[in-house]
């Protein structure tokens, strides 16, 4: 019966050895005690001696190979003996591929033997083939999943590279291993990457805005609006509304109303470019989408027929829609079919910005914050109140002059706010 020569445990801390050089050749007669090879351990290069007499039938490991303790180095036996069975028991890397059956066992799975173990008895789990699977304990798998850590990003310190609790803990930077634990071989860093599943809303935002930016040639028109009169007007209106129990009106509501009125005057801005149908859709109504930031995204509820509504009504509707948006209670119908959109980041201290057109609109108005700024009036520098509005236009359907005329009207209306109150 052929005899396996395994990688011996040559030092207390040795886990694997590198076969440095063979001292014998296949076919050589070997006597017990003969040096057959040199093996480099973590401490030194040492001689491996044969424990039995026989002919060296096969060198399983080649010079330079690294093998775990118990890994098959060579096979000894009688000339011409069949060694296929012994080789089959071992994986391609020279380690034992499967447990030999019918061996009485007391501790399961077998511990890695500390002392010299009889040949064939040692089953170092570290040598088991992985078949390309990411191996992880059930607990580690669950912890990684709970923390959104992809298992493939973790390095397993368990047998055969199994990812275990301490590996996941190290990654999420939580409780370290017990104080007395020996230093782990893998030194983790505190860096981590969370992978968060893309929400349906995020997918829609990404698709629609990318499509818009890729297909609509955007250009931008910025107007600096004098809002001193608007501020006075708004204060008066809100004082009045407060007495009558109505909701307060914001600057945004005035801008929305100004857009509605200006769109009636400039119907070429209130359009949809529909090349597939070979037409431009021009609306005789103004439905304004209002961008509302919500917890994990953005929605645009729509004010229908804004051209027919007063500032106070628009204010009331926007407030109601914003609440429903944040509670995620908007119906799809409430967010569809706008003809124009506004987006306001003034409350974050943004002076001006450019927005991406919300399809199928032709334009979107980006509203900046009101700021104190020195202005020239009648040849003198005085304190002024200004607000920047930036219109993004789809140049396929709105040309520069058309957009600019629309912006001039918006500016004019906001600078003469009484006119907005006069209009329904």
């Amino acid at each position: 019966m052929p005899i396996a020569i395994d990688m011996p445990k040559m030092t207390d801390t040795m886990e694997e050895g590198v076969l440095v050089e063979w001292a014998v050749e296949e076919g050589d007669n070997i006597a017990a005690g003969d040096v057959i090879a040199q093996v480099e351990t973590d401490k030194a290069t040492m001689d491996v001696e044969a424990y039995d007499d026989g002919v060296l039938l096969k060198k399983v490991a080649q010079a330079g190979d690294s093998l775990p303790i118990g890994g098959l180095i060579a096979i000894l036996g009688n000339e011409g003996e069949d060694i296929s069975g012994l080789l089959a028991e071992h994986g391609t890397n020279g380690t034992v591929a499967a447990a030999p059956p019918e061996e009485p066992v007391s501790v399961e799975p077998k511990p890695i033997p500390v002392e010299t173990a009889p040949s064939g008895d040692a089953l170092p789990a570290a040598g088991l083939p992985t078949n390309g699977r990411t191996k992880a304990s059930p607990l580690a798998r669950k912890m990684a999943s709970d923390h959104g850590l992809p298992l493939v990003n973790l390095i397993g310190s368990g047998p055969g590279g199994r990812i275990i609790k301490r590996d996941v803990q190290a990654q999420i930077g939580r409780a370290p291993a017990p104080a007395a634990a020996p230093a782990p071989t893998y030194v983790p860093s505190d860096r981590s990457v969370d992978s968060v599943r893309i929400s349906q809303m995020r997918k829609v935002i990404a698709r629609r805005l990318a499509e818009s930016k890729y297909t609509s040639p955007h250009f931008y028109l910025t107007a600096d609006v004098d809002v001193a009169a608007l501020i006075t007007q708004r204060t008066m209106l809100n004082d009045y509304l407060a007495k009558s129990g109505g909701p307060k009106v914001s600057f945004n509501d005035f801008v929305t109303k100004a857009c509605a009125s200006a769109l009636v005057q400039h119907p070429d801005v209130n359009v949809t470019y529909a090349p597939d149908d070979g037409v431009i859709l021009r609306y005789n109504y103004v439905d304004i989408g209002v961008a509302v930031a919500i917890e994990d995204g953005l929605v645009t509820p729509v004010i229908r027929d804004a051209q027919q509504k007063t500032v106070a009504t628009i204010a009331q509707e926007i407030q109601a829609l914003a609440v429903r948006a944040r509670d995620k209670k908007l119906t799809p119908e409430e967010m569809e079919g706008s003809t124009f959109t506004t987006s306001n980041l003034g409350m974050f201290g943004i002076e001006s910005f450019t927005a991406i057109i919300n399809p199928p609109n032709a334009c979107i108005l980006a509203i900046g914050g009101i700021r104190d700024t020195p202005v020239v009036e009648n040849g003198a520098v005085v304190a002024g109140k200004r607000m920047k509005l930036t219109l993004s236009c789809d140049h396929r359907v709105v040309d520069g002059a058309v957009g600019a005329q629309f912006m001039a009207t918006v500016k004019e209306l906001l600078e003469s706010p009484l006119s907005l109150l006069l209009q329904t």
């Binding site: 066992v105 007391s106 501790v107 609790k165």
Partner: protein, 327 residues
């Protein structure tokens, strides 16, 4: 608290119950005149007379059946087997009658009976006198199985077993009869059947062991303590019904488990416990469940071999370190 030997604690339980209830009697080989093969029943014949402490011939099948008949007719027998190895000839009485007649009679007959005696390895007694029977009897629905590791549990659980209206298999140990331990002297001290005992708290690994294996678990826990790890040691005390709640709660804390069981490994108590743990706490496991059992051979006679055959504290310690990924 009184310090008693295990045999004295078992005797105290029987005496307290027999004083309380005249329907209880003790029957078995050498229990009366010889005061018990292991002196468990010492003095009981003098106290209760031949009518309630009865010597039998060497006929386990006969006196086990006699006990069951008495139980069916309203008495509450305690049947002592000199060792559980001798009870194999009474298997039909235990397995077919004791375990099943209450079920088959639609509850018309029950068996308030305790079968007790030493179980498992007892040194150089060779293969036929070293058998662990807990897995065998636990696999039959209808039998309760208790296996004790110390005098206090022995007293509290034997009293509960005697009072139970169903047949109870009560497993002791030759090796432990002389073991001394504190026993509660609370009046009418009983321990509920089916409740495990957390003997030592810890968070590093759960070690489960009953009877002698409990002590191997405790010794291994001490060795781990020296390494800086706190093992949680659980003595299930009752094998059936098993206290899964206590074990599973512990696994949720430690994420790993070693079961110590001096039975042969195949289809042992350790097998079932490991199955239940993986089924009930799969996502809490960080390592394969490990067990330390007797070797898968008949018990050898030679001293060195029987020592090698049985689970040792060193075996348990190594298994613990392995599931903790320390080696």
């Amino acid at each position: 608290m009184a310090e008693l030997q295990l045999r004295e604690a078992i005797r105290a339980a029987m005496v307290e119950e027999m004083d309380r209830d005249e329907d209880i009697f003790l029957m078995g080989e050498e229990v009366a005149e010889y005061n018990g093969a292991y002196k468990v029943s010492e003095g009981m014949r003098d106290r209760y007379g031949d009518r309630r402490v009865i010597d039998t011939p060497i006929s386990e099948n006969g006196f086990a059946g006699l006990g069951l008949g008495a139980a069916m007719n309203g008495l509450r027998p305690i049947i002592e087997f000199m060792t559980w190895n001798f009870a194999f000839v009474a298997m039909d009485q235990l397995v077919n009658n004791a375990a099943k007649i209450r079920y088959m009679s639609g509850g018309q007959f029950s068996f308030p009976i305790v079968f007790r005696g030493p179980n498992g390895a007892a040194g150089q007694l060779a293969a036929t006198h070293n058998t662990s029977v807990e897995a065998l009897y636990s696999c039959f629905p209808g039998l309760k199985v208790i296996s004790i590791s110390n005098p206090d549990d022995a007293k509290g659980l034997l009293k509960s077993a005697i009072r139970d209206d169903d047949p109870v298999i009560f497993l002791e140990s030759e090796f432990m009869y002389g073991m001394r331990g504190e026993v509660s002297d609370a009046e009418d001290y009983t321990i509920p059947i089916g409740k495990a005992r957390i003997a030592k708290e810890g968070d590093a690994v759960t070690v489960i062991g009953h009877n002698k294996s409990y002590w191997r678990a405790m010794e291994a826990a001490e060795m781990l303590e020296a390494d800086g790890y706190a093992a949680e040691v659980i003595d299930p005390r009752t094998i059936r019904p098993f206290d899964w709640d206590t074990v599973i709660a512990s696994i949720r804390k430690t994420n790993r488990c070693v079961i110590v069981d001096e039975s042969n490994p195949f289809a042992s108590v350790a097998s079932e416990v490991a199955f239940q743990i993986q089924a009930r706490a799969f996502d809490d496991l960080d390592a394969p469940i490990s067990r330390v059992t007797a070797k898968d051979t008949p018990a050898p006679y030679a001293k060195n071999l029987i020592e090698y055959y049985l689970p040792s504290a060193e075996d348990v310690y190594r298994a613990c370190r392995e599931v903790m990924y320390l080696d």
